[in-house]
Symmetry: C2
Subunit: 157 residues, 2 copies
Amino acid sequence: MAVADKESAKLKFIDFLEGKNLRLTSQRQAIIDTVFSTEEHFTAEQLLDWSREKDQSVSRATVYRTLPLLTESGLLQQMDLGKDYTYYDPNYCDHPHHSHIICQDCDKIVEFDDEKLEKMEEEISQKMGFSLKTQKLQISATCDQLKKLGACKNKDC
Amino acid sequence: MAVADKESAKLKFIDFLEGKNLRLTSQRQAIIDTVFSTEEHFTAEQLLDWSREKDQSVSRATVYRTLPLLTESGLLQQMDLGKDYTYYDPNYCDHPHHSHIICQDCDKIVEFDDEKLEKMEEEISQKMGFSLKTQKLQISATCDQLKKLGACKNKDC
DNA sequence: GTGGGTGCAAAGTGTTTGCAAGTGT
DNA sequence: ACACTTGCAAACACTTTGCACCCAC
């Protein structure tokens, strides 16, 4: 889904590179092809593995050097999950304001958009004298299905 | 403010230790005295410095070994601000559900509680098949005052 | 041709841990 | 006494960086 959006995100990033006089090398190609062909959250190491499948010559250093460019361009967002690794979320081009529910039972991460919630956050910010720019909401929760049925539909992931 | 609450938090933690057959050493004393005498967010290194003012014998290792106990007991919460260090928030005993506004202009962190927001988050979770357990909301924002007056009341911190 | 880009390996840095000695109960 | 604790320093693990060579423009 949203394949066209992913494609346009790729083009946006290439524009971003041009605007900064940065070059589109084959390694960067492989990395951004990877980033914009998944909706999963991933770590730097996973991105390295996946990118190497497309281009063996991609190195860890280049991945680490490209990630800041991707976040700076706003097409990728860092996610701190309290784990050792930093995770990256490629879904901000489609849904810039989405939030996350993290299942304590199976570690699955579910995304959602909610306009009313967003509006309320903006109102609260205003009331406190600020203008909301970005927002990160992580809800940690348990799975209702697991409690009722003894099994979680996500458990097998 | 809420000095009594801070005091009771300290007692709660001592109970927590007893319940796990863990000892109240002088080093742990110094550390929890420090934690429960501030409302500031702090890093492990800051906690070490402050604790050493009370008890020179506190070591970095003990701080790092005590922090997980404090978070496990629910009296302290880890905060990932995307910076290099992990920050800790000692205000969860008083306000277990509070959220943060982080000012992009001065890096100041403001806390707030909002019952309606909390309720909405619970509703959303339910709708998606989950039961909300904990929640972390970070709003990144700019200071209105700075824009209007050219100065931010927090700027000098 | 030139300035940015790359891989490699070494360095950096917050955090964790093994160990021998210390201490609360 | 016994088990839990501690400080120290070494070990870890993710990330960053210096350098010499390379390549996109």
